[in-house]
């Protein structure tokens, strides 16, 4: 018997996803920038003040005195103890992330000066596997704490991370207590932790060192929540406030000390370093 197929799928097909915006197009107001313009503006939209993401090395360049940064532990690389394989092998994802970012993992650490004030830096890079924290990131942060304690200088951390790295399973979760004890030792050496929260700082990061700073600074519009908005909406079916988990709401609820626009960050850190450093 002859069959007549009526093709009606197109009527119900989901709408075309919006064309992916260029990374230099502002999601806030649609302004578009050349790469050098954006870099010169510290990746802040001149029209609406939207803060674009900043990679670790560029961030360090924005903050420290020229030529003062000396990187440490740059050769650390993740192992794959679980031989983790989801849709792709973890090893493959790692290799790809390193090629794409030029980084060994999601954190860069080293010593530097900011307006001549010596400090240690631990800066995360969201472009390396979503800034997820595995054994290497945990180890680098712990070493940064130790270097800071040894040198008797404050540690400035800049976090940008979705949380623990699932591909390292329970060992990724163990980076929470690992970084927490590192901060405890740092504090016992009477050194300060100044924690800068960039977009996003969620999950395991907020549940470990990022929350333990003596001073917490957030970038405008940064999401800082333990559970992301999608998880909260799906799990609880609550209606989320428009500013759910954003830096501005966290300031109101008392979870950060200040929201610092990026052009003022270097100056603000220098002030704090002077306040903590004047024994």
């Amino acid at each position: 018997m002859a069959r007549i197929d009526v093709s009606i799928e197109h009527k119900h097909a989901p709408p075309e996803p919006p064309a992916k915006k260029h990374p230099n197009t502002c999601p806030g107001c649609g302004s578009h920038y050349r790469d050098d313009e954006l870099e010169a503006a510290l990746r802040v939209c001149r029209q609406c003040g939207y803060h674009f993401p900043v990679k670790a090395r560029e961030r360090i360049g924005q903050l420290v005195d020229p030529m003062s940064f000396e990187e440490q532990a740059e050769d650390l690389r993740s192992a794959d103890p679980l031989e983790f394989f989801d849709l792709r092998a973890y090893k493959e994802r790692l290799a790809e992330a390193e090629l794409a970012t030029g980084l060994g993992d999601a954190m860069v650490i080293g010593s530097a000066t900011i307006e001549t004030q010596p400090c240690e830096l631990a800066v995360m890079d969201f472009s390396f596997m979503g800034g997820s924290m595995g054994s290497v990131t945990g180890e680098k942060f712990a070493r940064a704490c130790e270097h800071a304690a040894e040198a008797g200088v404050p540690l400035v951390s800049v976090s940008a991370s979705g949380g623990a790295r699932m591909q390292e399973g329970i060992l990724a979760l163990m980076q929470l207590p690992k970084t927490v004890v590192a901060v405890e030792e740092l504090h016992e050496a009477r050194c300060a932790l100044i924690s800068v929260l960039a977009h996003p700082t969620t999950g395991g990061l907020l549940a470990s060192f990022a929350s333990l700073g003596d001073v917490l600074l957030a970038e405008p519009g940064a999401l800082m929540s333990f559970a992301g908005p999608r998880v909260v909406a799906q799990t609880t079916r609550e209606k989320l406030p428009d500013d759910f988990g954003l830096a501005e709401s966290n300031l109101r609820f008392g979870h950060v000390d200040a929201i610092v626009p990026r052009p003022e960050l270097r100056m603000t850190l220098a002030r704090l370093l002077r306040l903590f450093g004047s024994d």
């Binding site: 623990a164 399973g169 207590p177 907020l206 559970a227």
Partner: protein
């Protein structure tokens, strides 16, 4: 399995055989069954066995914190409230006696029936719960009471109010409080050790896991939803991130496995409690005479070295 990991596992197993499990054996006289468990731990668990652990860890008849507390500790007195905002029923705290010594207890509490599950929020604590735990930890430190922590949560509660009350910071500060304690601390994962909400109260000198408990960075469903883009692939996710006790021991995340009655703790609460009590008492005995500073230094050193680098 890499060679050095195998050596480490054997090393841990011999230590385990000498300490935690034999203590249970001395009390129960069931050496044979324990030997079988040792053999099982030694053999790499299959994907099926891992999933069975996930199911048993979440079994609706599995003993919860208060089931153990009432069987293990004499004269348990529950402490309520975080002294700031509220009392979180998903995380219980109190004082009790173990072998004639006062200990402080913190633990997640799930509910048995629908009504209690709602009250207990399925064992998912708010920041208030973690702040209550910190309060009781500090109390223990002040008075020299050892701390026993029982972990059984799908995770810290992911809700709007929980975020507004500072969930992430509360979990971080709870771990920091444990890192500061100068008293012996023993944690045992007795069911689900779900992510940050679990490790918040598990930064202990000795971290034990019951045979069929799980300890993981994310739930199998959550991991599957993100990496497989399908929560239905939870089995595959569990097999990939290996949340079972044997793997946690192998990775150096826990210090010992506490045996359960044949077939799982849900079948015999009394026996499960007896085995857990023996393991807790044994761990506390080991730590009893260690000076405060050494205890804290060793605890920090243990967590400082967690992780595997290339």
């Amino acid at each position: 399995m890499p060679r050095d990991a195998e050596i480490r596992l054997r090393d841990r197993l011999s230590r385990l055989g000498g300490l935690d499990l034999l203590r249970g054996a001395r009390l129960s006289g069931e050496l044979e069954r324990l030997q079988r468990q040792l053999d099982r731990i030694e053999a790499e668990p299959t994907d099926e066995e891992i999933w069975r652990s996930v199911e048993l860890a979440r079994h609706q008849d599995r003993p919860y914190t208060l089931d153990y507390v009432n069987r293990i500790f004499e004269d348990f007195f529950e402490l309520h409230g975080d002294r700031g905002r509220g009392d979180d029923a998903a995380l219980v705290t109190g004082l009790g006696q173990l072998e004639g010594r006062t200990v402080a207890i913190v633990g997640h509490q799930k509910g048995r029936d629908l009504k209690e599950r709602t009250t207990r929020n399925f064992g998912m604590a708010y920041p208030e719960g973690y702040r209550k735990a910190v309060r009781v930890m500090e109390l223990a430190d002040r008075h020299g009471f050892p701390l026993v922590s029982l972990v059984d949560t799908p995770g810290a509660y992911p809700g709007v109010a929980a975020e507004q009350h500072g969930q992430g910071g509360a979990i971080a500060r709870c771990q920091a409080a444990m890192a500061r304690l100068g008293v012996p601390t023993v944690a045992c994962i007795i069911g689900e050790g779900g992510s940050g909400g679990a490790v918040a109260i598990a930064l202990a000198d000795r971290v034990l896991m019951q045979e069929n408990a799980i300890y993981s960075v994310i739930s199998p469903e959550g991991c599957a939803a993100i990496l497989w883009r399908d929560a239905g692939e939870a089995r595959k996710a569990a097999a990939a991130f290996k949340p079972d006790a044997a793997h946690c021991l192998e990775l150096g995340v826990i210090d010992g496995i506490v045996p359960e009655p044949e077939g799982g703790a849900q079948g015999n609460h009394d026996e499960a409690a007896r085995l857990l009590a023996a393991a807790l008492a044994d761990s506390l005995e080991e730590l009893e005479d260690v000076p405060r500073r050494e205890l804290r230094a060793a605890r920090r050193e243990k967590f400082r070295s967690m992780g595997v680098l290339a």
